[in-house]
């Protein structure tokens, strides 16, 4: 089974992603906690693309594909922005007290924690990020 969602790099397009994941959850009969985790991981990954792969341009495409069969369940996020490899992001120090914690830096960390594996490749001038459930 494959489903595809087309977004543009506008923060106001993010709720479409949430609705799409909820729809997949119903169609593919996914458990509620998994739908929540997928919702969160995909949002963080897509928002990172908006912020880092397309820092200046507007109206640029981001494609999210869900693939599920008996052997594998994974999502692929593709964009045509500048090369950006989120798997190289440094993990935040989550043991710091509130006064020492920097604001931000949690997005990709959450993706890595919520998915079993993520992988990145640059191909045909595209960033291709795969998120394995």
């Amino acid at each position: 089974m494959t489903e595809t969602l087309h977004l543009i790099n506008d923060i106001h397009d993010v709720p479409k992603l949430g609705a799409w994941v909820e729809g997949l959850g119903e169609k593919w009969e996914l458990p509620m906690p998994q739908v929540f985790n997928l919702n969160l991981a995909l949002e963080e990954a897509v928002v990172n693309v908006m912020n880092y792969a397309y820092p200046h341009e507007k109206g640029k495409p981001i494609t999210v594909t869900a693939n599920k069969d008996s052997e594998a369940f994974y999502f692929v996020i593709e964009d045509e922005g500048i090369p950006f490899d989120p798997t190289k992001a440094e993990n935040p120090d989550i043991t710091l007290d509130a006064d020492e914690r920097p604001i931000g830096g949690l997005g990709i960390f959450l993706v890595q924690e919520l998915m079993s594996r993520i992988s990145y490749e640059r191909k045909d001038n595209k960033n291709i990020l795969s998120l394995y459930v």
């Binding site: 985790n37 604001i103 931000g104 960390f109 959450l110």
Partner: protein
Amino acid sequence: MKLEIKEKEGILTGVLCGRLDTAAAQQFEKDMQPLMGQANKPIVLDCTQLDFISSSGLRLFLALRKQTLAKGGSVTIKGVNPEIKQVFTITGFFSLFNFE
């Protein structure tokens, strides 16, 4: 996403309702300014009706916590669902707030 702020006996309560995703966080940041401005008081964030939070929402929770640290108030988080609780645990946010 809605935020309703109430004050009773010196305790400020912010009741959050809906999805605090990246798109909603921009408006929420504006809506929470009365809490930021009174960070010398005990603040309760009632999350019983909060369905979802992303890192954009977490950063605003942390900003409020930092403000209360500076001003002498406190932040207590109430009624989070198990999925949101898990997000607080993963990110180490669980130890930064009081939970009820």
